[in-house]
């Protein structure tokens, strides 16, 4: 479906993307994560033709979107703030999108606007930050485009509306469409995403189906008997998330390591549910401060 092939992009002399490659498959929700300034928004902008890549290409069903702009009728980008639409009323936005996107579903749009109790005849400028995001996400989803790109969709949205918004995103995915969400709300992606792409140093080397990730990576709480086995803990595929006294919370990436752990002198080993945030902290080399 949407294929991103070895994208390179330099901005102000800094290589933001250095060969990002992945594919979005129909019927899936993909989370795009990475630390601040890793190029998530730049990547989104490349996928919609706002920026031109220095190298590489973005194709939808084999057609380069930077050469054939009309294929973008099937790609919609919802930025983290709908500033460009602030002069319009919500209704006018619906009318404008109806003219631009041939599959725009006006009834669906008005239904969602009603569901979120958004004022159809008021200007976008008058909405609160959270309401703006609800509205622009609804507008993007109503295009019925096959590829929907959401940049921080839950930005400023309150807890109740967030729940509704996530439900809306999930129910919007059809077997023919896919959604790419760039978000720093890892707990939300954990709930709704099928796969995850980690953007690091301009590359997308870590791509996982969340289900596979949970099978592959184990989160364990271990209490060692006679102090920790430092040799075992210092291995590359072991990441210590937390240590309180003799209690270690670790992530492991291989079965062999798990077998070797069993040979250690332990008082207790307990398997915990892996959260995306744990894995992210490990792979991004930070403390979970992401955006």
């Amino acid at each position: 479906m949407l294929r991103i092939d070895k994208l390179h992009k330099q901005i102000d002399g800094r290589a933001v993307l250095q060969g990002a490659s992945f594919e979005l498959r129909p019927g899936t929700i993909t989370g795009l994560i990475g630390r601040n300034g890793t190029g998530k928004t730049t990547l989104m902008r490349l996928l919609t033709g706002i920026y031109d890549p220095d190298r590489g290409q973005v194709t939808l069903d084999g057609v380069d979107i930077h050469r054939q702009a009309n294929v973008k009728r099937d790609i919609v980008f919802v930025p983290d703030a709908p500033t460009a639409l602030e002069g319009y009323t919500l209704k006018q936005c619906g009318q404008l999108y109806g003219k631009i996107y041939p599959s725009f579903d006006r009834l669906y749009f008005e239904d969602i606007i009603g569901r979120f109790k958004l004022p159809l005849n008021k200007s976008v400028r008058s909405l609160s930050k959270g309401m703006k995001m609800l509205f622009s996400t609804a507008l993007g989803l109503a295009t019925r485009a096959r590829v929907i790109l959401l940049d921080e969709p839950t930005n400023g949205v309150d807890a109740v509306a967030k729940k509704q918004l996530l439900a809306l995103i999930m129910e919007s995915v059809t077997p023919e469409s896919c959604i790419l969400i760039s978000s720093h709300m890892l707990s939300e992606l954990d709930r709704i995403a099928d796969s995850i792409i980690l953007l690091r140093d301009g590359r997308t080397e870590e791509q996982w189906l969340l289900e596979e990730l949970r099978m592959q990576v184990r989160k364990l709480q271990i209490v060692f008997n006679e102090g920790a086995s430092m040799d075992w803990l210092s291995q590359n595929e072991v990441h210590v998330l937390q240590q309180i006294g003799r209690v270690y919370t670790v992530l492991l990436e291989s079965d062999a390591l798990y077998s070797s752990l069993m040979k250690q002198d332990m008082l207790l080993v307990d398997e915990l549910a892996l959260a995306l945030e744990d894995w992210f902290s490990w792979k991004s080399g930070g403390d979970g401060d992401v955006a």
């Binding site: 992009k9 902008r45 702009a69 009309n70 930025p79 460009a84």
Partner: protein, 343 residues
């Protein structure tokens, strides 16, 4: 293809972005031409109207209807410039351009729609204003004196000049990163020919190179002309006197050529638009290098010129001023090109 080209989505979006300009152009156009004519030939006291008629009869070369078209031409030059800045420069702020470029339209399509919309605004308001104006003339005591061929020719000439400036400003906007830089570049480009001439004179003066050439007429009269190259200055062309007799095929050809060249150049640059550099002085790194070099040299020439004015005139003050301004100019432009305005 053509059905797709006239897709209402992009036209609606572009129209909405500048619709206030249409109202302004129409309103001000009406005030500048037909309303003035009405006040002079409809609503004025009869003795004033009779005076005006007498004035025309006494001065066969006096063609007041043409000078009023000149006023409309000047107004439209200003309005066309604002329109072009609004369409391109202003769009680069607040993620407006990001929205436009994310839509399913090619950049050729987007730029052409912008240009066509601007042309339609200018054409429409010109014709509307002059249609009302012509109606006023026809129903007034001015009617028997008007030479309609000349009226139409002056209108067409004013229209072409306006379209050329509008297309030029739009093209300038495709390489500038903000409203401020688009305005600055417009000013610089318009003043550049005069600046070059002035700097040439100053240089010759400082190095004692004679700039005046002695010439003699057939009758034996001696006169002096400047050796400085005669660069055509844009103001003469922009404010071309509507009643001027000098109008010729060269004018029509050059003006149409400017429109075509500026449109093609604008299109060429817009297709290569680097939205990631919005907010900068220029959005293309290659042009940034040219800008740095050009600005530094111009600043150095200006510095040299100021030095010869402040101190004594001669090669030494000129050269010292040149060198000092060269360094200052380079540091200034280096700082300016690194700035990214987020307005």
């Amino acid at each position: 293809m053509w059905r797709n080209f006239f897709n209402t989505g992009l036209w609606s979006k572009e129209f909405r972005q500048v619709r206030f300009m249409l109202y302004a152009i129409l309103g001000l156009g009406f005030i500048t031409l037909p309303l003035v004519r009405m006040n002079r030939w409809w609503f004025a006291e009869q003795r004033h109207i009779s005076n005006s008629v007498e004035n025309i009869i006494m001065n066969p070369d006096y063609e007041p209807w043409l000078y009023d078209i000149m006023n409309l031409q000047i107004l439209m030059l200003v309005m066309g410039t604002i329109l072009a800045i609004w369409q391109i420069g202003s769009e680069r702020r607040a993620n407006m351009q990001e929205f436009t470029l994310s839509l399913p339209y090619s950049r050729v399509h987007i730029y052409t729609v912008k240009w066509l919309l601007g042309v339609a605004f200018l054409l429409g308001s010109f014709f509307l204003s002059t249609a009302v104006d012509a109606s006023v003339i026809c129903t007034s005591e001015l009617a028997p004196f008007v030479e309609w061929g000349g009226y139409a020719s002056a209108l067409l000439r004013a229209l072409l000049i306006n379209l050329a400036l509008y297309t030029f400003v739009l093209a300038v906007g495709t390489m500038c990163g903000s409203v401020i830089s688009q305005l600055s570049f417009l000013g610089i480009l318009i003043l550049m020919p005069e600046f070059i001439r002035l700097m040439f004179d100053r240089f010759c003066w400082a190095f004692d190179i004679p700039t005046l050439k002695k010439e003699t007429t057939i009758e034996g009269m001696v006169y002096y002309t400047s050796k400085a190259p005669k660069v055509p200055t844009p103001d003469r062309w922009l404010f071309y006197d509507a009643g001027s007799e000098e109008i010729n095929a060269w004018f029509w050809g050059a003006t149409i050529a400017i429109i075509v060249v500026c449109y093609v150049l604008g299109l060429f640059l817009y297709v290569r638009n680097e939205a990631e550099n919005n907010g900068k002085l220029v959005i293309f790194p290659s042009l940034e290098t040219i800008l740095r070099g050009g600005f530094t040299i111009c600043f150095a020439l200006l510095g040299a010129s100021i030095a010869t004015s402040l101190f004594t005139n001669g090669p030494v003050p000129y050269s010292l001023g040149f060198l000092a301004a060269l360094v200052i100019g380079y540091l200034m432009i280096r700082k300016l090109t690194k700035l990214k305005l987020k307005i």
